[in-house]
């Protein structure tokens, strides 16, 4: 009987492996293998082995270091901002408010638009002289702003654009997480005398660790790799203020044909992301 049970287990395991094999093959060929190729390429320049020269050039290059700093600053602001907004919207739209379903659809819709298209539309909206955003500000008697044409405001403009496009998407995952919480926990909290905020802070949010961990990690990766708005709207300017590292890597690889340096940049970017993601996992680890 025990042998039969083990045979059944192996058979089920094998069937499961067959089903996930295509995904594993895709993961290996499109993610893991290119990452190792990039690592190898980072030690070469124009076909010659140069050791750590590419890394040395990178850490001593002011534009490249500025690009890394800009990327870290960008992520320090946008990741918590998007998560907080998505969470607040998810909590609001899981209450039994009139029109909640329509609002959920409306907030999610920007996620269905390709980011390149959103970038072009926002580029027109952000025009300093006749854009829609400044026209709305004029209604509130606020002076027109330079937005993408100012080194002080361009990064903030990109944050607004990326948040408009992404918040709805992450909100959906958090709504699913909220709905997964059994009602009995809220009822038990209510019986114990916990008010709305007490239930939210001490019952709901702790039970949201897993979906929050997923959203935080996925959002961090997406924002570290953000590319279309920079490529289409600013090309890293004004004055390098929006030169996110993904754009700088692309520029080095495909405009300057410096694949070794671009590969070194990619290795550094992935390493930074890995460290941040590990920290995020530890912070949101579910305690048993």
């Amino acid at each position: 009987m025990f042998r039969h049970f083990r045979r059944t287990q192996y058979r089920e395991g094998f069937i499961a492996l067959v089903f996930i094999a295509p995904a594993l093959v895709a993961l290996f060929t499109m993610r893991i293998l290119p990452a190792f190729n990039a690592l190898q390429a980072s030690f070469y320049h124009e076909g010659e082995y140069v050791g750590l020269d590419n890394y040395d050039f990178l850490i001593n290059s002011e534009p490249l270091v500025n690009s890394i700093q800009t990327t870290l600053t960008f992520n320090l602001i946008i990741n918590p901002l998007q998560i907080l907004i998505a969470l607040a919207l998810a909590i609001l739209l899981t209450e039994n408010l009139p029109g909640a379903a329509i609002w959920r659809v409306a907030i999610f819709m920007p996620a269905a638009v390709p980011l390149a298209v959103s970038s072009i539309v926002w580029g027109i909206a952000f025009r300093p002289d006749d854009g829609m955003v400044n026209s709305l500000l004029a209604l509130l008697a606020i002076e027109p702003q330079p937005w993408l044409t100012s080194a002080d405001q361009a990064l903030a403009s990109i944050i607004i654009l990326a948040s408009w496009a992404g918040v709805g998407y992450w909100m959906i995952f958090l709504i699913a997480g909220l709905r997964d919480i059994p009602v009995v926990y809220r009822e038990a909290a209510a019986l114990d005398g916990a008010g709305y905020w007490g239930t939210l802070l001490y019952v709901v949010l702790p039970l949201m660790r897993r979906p929050l961990a997923f959203v935080l990690v996925a959002n961090t990766v997406a924002n570290f790799l953000l590319f279309p708005p920079i490529q289409i709207l600013t090309r890293g300017g004004p004055e390098g203020s929006t030169n996110l590292f993904m754009h700088e890597i692309y520029r080095r690889a495909f405009r300057f044909a410096d694949y070794g340096l671009a590969s070194a940049g990619m290795v550094i970017l992935i390493s930074i992301m890995l460290v941040i993601v590990i920290i995020q996992f530890r912070l949101l680890r579910t305690r048993v």
Partner: protein
């Protein structure tokens, strides 16, 4: 069960025949892949004419945005890719493309064409005496002006006489007057943040093309002429005469919509502006600095062959037809209205496509007297990219000297690799 099995086999065989059959038939046909920045409709006349004259060869054209053309070529051809067979090469980039191994040496196959195309176009398509692409078009820039907006401000149109060419100093005054009289914008450049468009400013002051005459991999963009010229450029936007935040693709719309009084742009906009209802316009000579000399940009497109193409003979036949054959070159010019690089076709084209009276004389005068090619350096792609960023920064308010010094340092670092 047996019937179902037989039906399955039969259907599978039919599917195989249907999917493989056309490919087998297509093996007799040579298909040339061609990548360029023009709209597909622009290529239809020359492709149709070539295919009619060469049964068995089909040309498939793929249009990509100009700003992405270089990136796309780099991606596809970097590891010796065999496609595209043919591509559009921006003439100042040809040295860099040859250095990257992307262009086939066609000197021996094509022969001497020096009496067939404009000298500047031929020079731009040649590296170390070898021909790497065939010139298709050339270019210059003219000063368009909105007659209604000028009339509202009581301004005389700029002269077409070379001895009375308008200066930048006068143009700024007139543009400001037009703006005061009701024009939304006084002035605008066509390719507002590209070295092609802006090079005449420092060149007019004797600042040179941006690289050292002794070493084409040494930037020379921080001399007094360059700083003065680019400060003038930045002031156009700082003063509100010209708008910020409008991307290159949308600048001609400003003139077509009657929003700007003066617009420096290419003659390829003539059909569009001429066909715009309600737009009352004319064109004159490109401005220059009073203390300098008249300079106009030039250079446009050549078509080249991928050295790793599997259809080299057919590819060379196509570009030869499009550039040198009188019928082919005329069909090429019909598709997109850039001045043809083929001298014979140039005269025919403008005789048949008059939008403004005498505009071909103006274009010819500039091509023969004031045209200045862009910096000839194998580092041109990096040069164009980094200078473009500096121009955009200056346009958005950065100090010209600081932006140029930063760009110069970036260029030195990139070229040192």
């Amino acid at each position: 069960m047996q019937m179902r099995f037989r039906l399955t086999i039969l259907l599978t065989l039919i599917l195989l025949v249907v999917s493989v059959g056309p490919q087998v038939a297509a093996q007799d046909e040579v298909v040339l892949s061609f990548v360029g920045p023009e709209q597909p409709s622009a290529m239809e006349p020359v492709i149709a004419a070539f295919e009619a004259a060469n049964p068995g060869i089909r040309v498939e054209y793929e249009s990509v945005p100009f700003v992405d053309l270089n990136d796309i070529l780099q991606t596809r051809m970097r590891d010796g890719g065999s496609t595209p067979d043919i591509f559009t090469a921006d003439q100042p980039r040809i040295s860099a493309l040859v250095e990257r191994g992307f262009l086939l040496d066609i000197t021996d196959e094509v022969g001497d064409i020096s009496d067939m195309v404009w000298p500047s176009s031929l020079d731009a398509s040649t590296v170390d005496g070898r021909l790497y692409a065939l010139p298709i078009s050339t270019s210059t820039q003219i000063l368009y002006y909105n007659l209604d907006l000028l009339e509202a401000a009581g301004l005389e149109p700029p002269s077409r006489e070379p001895e009375n060419r308008i200066t930048w100093e006068q143009l700024v005054q007139d543009a400001a007057a037009a703006q005061e009289a009701g024009a939304e914008w006084g002035f605008m450049f066509d390719q507002v943040n590209r070295i092609y468009q802006i090079q005449p400013l420092p060149e007019s002051l004797g600042g040179g093309p941006g690289v050292s005459a002794d070493n084409p991999l040494e930037p020379n963009i921080t001399n007094a002429a360059w700083v003065e010229a680019l400060s003038f450029y930045g002031d156009l936007f700082e003063s509100g005469l010209a708008p910020r935040g409008i991307p290159v693709e949308q600048t001609p719309d400003l003139f077509a919509n009657g929003q700007v009084a003066y617009f420096v742009g290419g003659p390829w906009w003539l059909p569009r502006f001429g066909g715009t209802e309600g737009l009352n316009f004319d064109a004159g000579l490109h401005p220059y600095f009073a203390e300098g000399e008249p300079v106009t940009p030039t250079g446009a497109w050549s078509w080249g062959v991928n050295p790793n193409s599997e259809h080299i003979d057919e590819a060379i036949a196509f570009i030869t037809f499009a550039a040198l054959d009188p019928t082919g070159a005329l069909r090429t010019a019909e598709g997109f209205p850039l001045p043809p690089a083929n001298i014979e076709v140039f005269n025919t084209y403008y005789a048949e496509n008059q939008v403004l009276d005498g505009i071909e004389d103006l274009i010819l005068y500039e091509l023969e007297n004031t045209a200045r090619v862009r910096a000839k350096t194998e580092g041109f792609i990096e040069f164009e990219e980094i200078i473009g960023q500096a121009l955009e920064d200056i346009r958005n308010g950065a100090d010209a000297r600081g932006a140029l010094e930063t760009a110069s340092e970036d260029l030195e670092a990139v070229w040192s690799r």
